[in-house]
């Protein structure tokens, strides 16, 4: 009796702690655009799923593409999306719906750097509904992170809480509200298709910043492993896979020509070996879209909204051509 009372007390304490932690998570983990993105792909059917980095997020508008291709699509790209994230996002999508094509935006810099624990690490995992993909993603990625990722996923934002927003966040989650009105800032705006529109900037004031550059011999095996797994997964599940590299401003291409040329060679060969299409707007499709800085908001290659829409049209046309050629 004494022992069972002790067990009951322990269980009660653990349950109360669990409820409190869940409450804190609901109130403190912000409603990110990834929440909307994941909600969209697990609750709606799309023909095209776009995966990749911030270049894909800001340069590819699925709604514009749909006008040309006639295919519905959702943009699941985000800055900091490495091969492992893309692979498990694809797995999650395939668990919930049947996409026909995955368009994977390739930023060569992401293949020579490691995903770092810290801000944004949980962006994807936190929004995944409970699924087999989530469990595997935990085991292969989150398990090695520090325990706060599970107990306090909101810790990444702890220095930037806006107290008045806590109630709003809480209510938004309780009411399952996925409106996008708050997902905008002075420089950009999120669209329901997953596309983030960047507002034009004064390019005369643009400064060159450090960018993630590809370097020969420094490719991280784990990044390539997951890219290969993604391709194999698409093949096994009869999903078309197309790799795309978005245009880079000419000034950046010239400044780092050795890095970029080496990257194009490496990935050109890799995708050829994998037997999948690779559309590179800095090599064979160089002339298909402008590389003039006017179309971009930085020298890294993130386009402004108008340019992104124009580019999405071009991309859709190239995809159509590639498809008919196949």
């Amino acid at each position: 009796m004494h022992s069972s009372k002790k067990i009951l007390k322990t269980v009660l304490v653990l349950v109360i702690c669990g409820i409190l932690l869940k409450g804190l998570d609901t109130a403190l983990y912000p409603c990110t655009f990834m929440r909307n993105d994941v909600h969209a792909v697990v609750s709606e059917q799309f023909d095209d799923i776009i995966l990749g980095t911030s270049h894909g997020k800001m340069d590819i508008d699925p709604e514009v593409m749909e006008e040309i291709t006639g295919r519905t699509g959702h943009n699941l790209c985000v800055g900091g999306e490495y091969g492992i994230d893309a692979y498990y996002l694809a797995r999650l999508v395939a668990e919930k719906q049947n996409p026909k094509r995955i368009i994977y935006e390739v930023d060569p810099g992401y293949f020579v750097s490691e995903k770092e624990e810290g801000n944004n690490y949980l962006l994807f995992y936190h929004e995944f509904p409970f699924s087999k993909a989530k469990l595997e993603y935990f085991w292969n990625s989150i398990a090695k992170c520090n325990f706060r990722t599970i107990l306090f996923p909101w810790y990444e934002y702890s220095l930037s809480y806006e107290v008045p927003k806590v109630k709003e966040t809480f209510l938004q989650k309780i009411k399952k509200d996925y409106s996008i009105t708050d997902l905008k800032s002075d420089s950009q705006k999120y669209h329901e298709s997953g596309f983030i529109e960047r507002y034009p900037v004064d390019i005369s004031k643009l400064k060159k910043t450090d960018i993630k550059l590809y370097e020969d011999g420094k490719v991280t095996p784990s990044n390539m492993k997951y890219l290969k797994k993604l391709i194999d997964f698409c093949k096994e599940n009869d999903i078309e896979f197309v790799a795309v590299t978005t245009p880079v401003p000419i000034a950046t291409l010239k400044d780092h020509s050795d890095n970029y040329n080496a990257a194009w060679k490496y990935f050109g060969k890799f995708f050829e070996e994998q037997g999948v299409d690779y559309i590179n707007f800095n090599t064979q499709y160089f002339k298909a879209f402008t590389h003039n800085a006017k179309a971009y908001t930085d020298y890294d290659g993130h386009m402004n909204g108008d340019a992104a829409r124009a580019y999405s049209k071009v991309l859709a046309q190239v995809l159509n051509q590639t498809e008919s050629a196949d």
């Binding site: 702690c17 770092e116 624990e117 989150i142 398990a143 520090n146 325990f147 306090f152 220095l159």
Partner: protein
């Protein structure tokens, strides 16, 4: 597998569960299996080293005992020497080969190529632990363990393998192999201790590291912060290492195993000798038992003592050998810390101060008498604590920078430039400079909490026992707040491993 990772905590939970489910007589085997799983997860190829150390010392101990039983002391001694050479030889080969090559190249203008050697996990710790066992068997302080697997557990016990504490066979054997009944209070006490360790690591050490790394990477850019940088590094090192120890000791206590304490509020030390009785205690006692005493009692030291008495008189002649033994001990401490001159200088600095204090002890006593200081005055206690703290902080100049040049440069900057406001230019990790004041505030409050807890402990208060006497909801609330505070206030910069895990 980092001590703060989800995987490690799941691993601990699984090991505790299995440990208490299996029949008591198999508990030690569960620990051994989990210890080797842990070790293999850290790098399968490193298992060879720990196996080598285990087999060599286990066999050598058995043979020593057998030879001693046959009164064959000379062979026993030779086996001991061989065992120690093999054990330390392996450590030397993997840890110091490249250091030796670098120095040979520099000294003789040679062009020897360094080797790509990865340091096996915990090698400095388990080498010392198993060598200590071998010496204990030789000195008949303990009996040799007959069962190879039981001995393997002593060498590889997973919570302590990465960063200590360096255990003694006589203290641990009975605990490892004795049956342990499940007791909720062991789990609770372990959990409390782990929580306190995480608090120190994530709130204090990791935030301090954000500033320390920037200051030491760019000493000229942050020239006005050299002094603050070294103070923050002192905090980081203490919180990191002692926090890691709290986690390790907490995990062990979940298995009903009580490891030796490695820290006892070192910044309340009244002398550098006292500091080393409170800081990395198990390394200090290892050095005392296995280096200091053997050196002091050695034949050549006896001769030196005789010579010193003749030349310097009875009093100084008696002190000098002890001073020399201290310098040797701290030279070894420096070498143990790493293959770099900065560590050797760090060790020698401590050794020289302790030696100098030994030589001056008589003078200090007479000065105190003349100044009517009994030594019990509060102001004198505070003075000695601050004096020791300053001497300790100076040693950190040799410990943290990449090389001696930077160390000396930082020392110079510390006394010639001081501009604390520069700290606001350092970004609080990825959150940027806008959040720097918050990070500093968190550090300040964290330090106050650590200080208050340390003062209470120094006064003999048993905080956890006092908390346990409170009503359960209050105790749970206190620990829950501590847990959640790690979420709210822990460093948001890129996660860092424990500093001593690399030794």
């Amino acid at each position: 597998m980092s001590l703060v990772s989800n995987l490690f905590l799941l691993f601990v939970a699984a090991s505790v569960l299995v440990y208490y489910i299996v029949p008591h007589k198999w508990q030690w085997l569960v620990l051994l299996v989990f210890s080797y799983i842990y070790y293999v997860a850290g790098g399968p190829r490193f298992v060879v080293f720990i196996l080598f150390s285990t087999i060599v010392t286990w066999l050598a101990a058995l043979m020593i005992e057998k030879m001693e039983a046959q009164e064959n002391h000379k062979t026993a001694r030779n086996i001991l020497i061989l065992g120690l050479i093999l054990n330390f030889g392996m450590l030397g080969a993997v840890k110091y080969t490249n250091f030796a090559i670098e120095n040979l190249n520099a000294l003789f203008h040679m062009n020897l190529r360094g080797m790509a050697i990865l340091l096996p996990l915990g090698i400095s710790f388990y080498t010392f632990q198993s060598s200590g066992y071998l010496l204990d068997v030789y000195w008949k302080r303990c009996e040799a363990e007959k069962h190879p697997l039981k001995y393997a557990l002593f060498v590889s016990f997973f919570p302590q393998i990465l960063q200590g504490p360096i255990g003694r066979y006589s203290r641990l054997a009975n605990q490892f192999y004795a049956p342990h009944k499940f007791e909720g209070k062991n789990i609770a006490r372990g959990f409390e201790r782990i929580l306190w360790g995480f608090f120190k690591k994530m709130i204090l050490a990791d935030w301090a590291a954000v500033f320390v790394d920037e200051i030491f990477a760019n000493p000229d850019q942050y020239s006005g912060l050299a002094l603050i940088g070294i103070l923050l590094y002192t905090l980081q090192l203490y919180a990191d290492f002692s926090g890691g120890m709290d986690v390790v000791i907490g995990i062990a206590s979940m298995f009903g195993i009580e490891l030796d304490e490695n820290f006892k509020r070192p910044f309340f030390a009244v002398s550098v000798t006292d500091f080393w009785h409170r800081w990395h205690i198990t390394l200090g006692t290892w050095m005392k038992d296995y280096v200091f005493y053997p050196v002091t009692l050695s034949r050549w030291m006896g001769s030196f003592s005789k010579w010193a008495k003749k030349v310097f008189g009875r009093k100084t002649g008696r002190t000098l050998p002890i001073c020399l033994a201290n310098i040797i001990v701290f030279f070894v401490v420096g070498v143990w810390h790493g293959a770099a001159w900065k560590y050797i200088i760090y060790g020698l600095y401590n050794g020289l101060i302790i030696a100098f204090s030994g030589l001056m002890a008589g003078n200090y006593r007479s000065w105190k008498k003349k100044l009517h200081i009994s030594g019990k005055e509060t102001w004198y206690y505070v003075f000695t604590v601050i004096r020791t703290f300053i001497l300790t902080v100076i040693s950190m100049y040799f410990d943290r920078p990449d090389d001696m040049g930077v160390a000396l440069h930082m020392m110079k900057l510390s006394v010639t430039r001081f501009n604390p406001s520069q700290i606001l230019q350092i970004p609080a990790g990825k959150q940027g400079t806008a959040f720097t004041p918050y990070a500093l505030l968190i550090l300040a409050v964290g330090c106050v909490i650590l200080f208050v807890v340390s003062v209470l402990q120094e006064r003999g208060m048993k905080i956890r026992e006092s908390l346990a006497k409170l009503p359960l909801p209050v105790t749970v609330a206190v620990y829950f707040c501590l847990l959640v505070s790690i979420g709210f206030f822990g460093s948001t910069a890129v996660a860092r491993g424990f500093i001593y895990a690399q030794f």
